[in-house]
Subunit: 146 residues, 2 copies
Amino acid sequence: MRVSTRFSDSIHILAFIEIYKNIRLSSEVIASSVETSPVVIRRLMGVLREAGLIATKQGSAEPKLARDPKDITLLDIYFATEGNKPLFELDKKTNPECIVGGNIQDVLGDYYEQAKVAAQRKLNDTTLQDLIETILVKQKAKEISG
Amino acid sequence: MRVSTRFSDSIHILAFIEIYKNIRLSSEVIASSVETSPVVIRRLMGVLREAGLIATKQGSAEPKLARDPKDITLLDIYFATEGNKPLFELDKKTNPECIVGGNIQDVLGDYYEQAKVAAQRKLNDTTLQDLIETILVKQKAKEISG
DNA sequence: TTAATTGTAATTAATACAGTTACAATCAAT
DNA sequence: ATTGATTGTAACTGTATTAATTACAATTAA
């Protein structure tokens, strides 16, 4: 299928809301930075609101972060948008009568879980604040060299 | 889309070939353990052959591991079947005129890479031999309790 | 020589996703 | 209070990825 950019786009939205907190933040404005449609932005923001990451008000273009950016990690955003789904897919339909088919799902599931948690720990190491500061540094670097 | 089970099925195939190396290993037999069609098995085996993990001979139902199972890790199989693709997808189309849109791809790409490598290191910790031995232990445990 | 098998291409059906359209509910400014 | 802008949400569409299927030439082994 088409690959999901929900996670990346949601991070984008949250960083945008924080960096541009002093201007008017309609879904239209945010959409122009993400380069998608305002409906897609509103849909993602609904998910972020349900996850307790932002606060919005219907009819008013004033979304706000619901928590300090130091207290939001990339893992929080990942769970909000993708849930705790497997990172590597098991084949759930294998022959239970066979030694391999009857045991591989349990065994592989354990290994996959360990790899998933390792990745999630890394995501949990980075806060929205870290990301924003890094973006601002990269921008300054661009401005002096360009 | 439908989720890919190539990685899991390929691991299954390799474990099956090793455990049942003394019987006739047609794609039909392997398919009955994976519960899929022989064509799917042959297609996956073609990929594993190209990656240097198995040796096959056209017309002959005798696939063999090309390396010692101690020298094949889950990561080797992952790279063979999925390649070194991103584990988390960037949105590659963001507004370069915006501070966020113009920098987030680079910054997020770095964080994603770190998380991906963390997961890959875990996959690289497990060999096909480990997997096979764990499957055989689980099977024995089943047999004594059932 | 022949039956079985591999290797591979082409096609199909299912599924997940962003994007789009449409519109009711709500807000903010007057 | 009225009005124009905005959010929230549902329904639908187009696209891309995948396993499964069909078909068949090439190869093997008895």
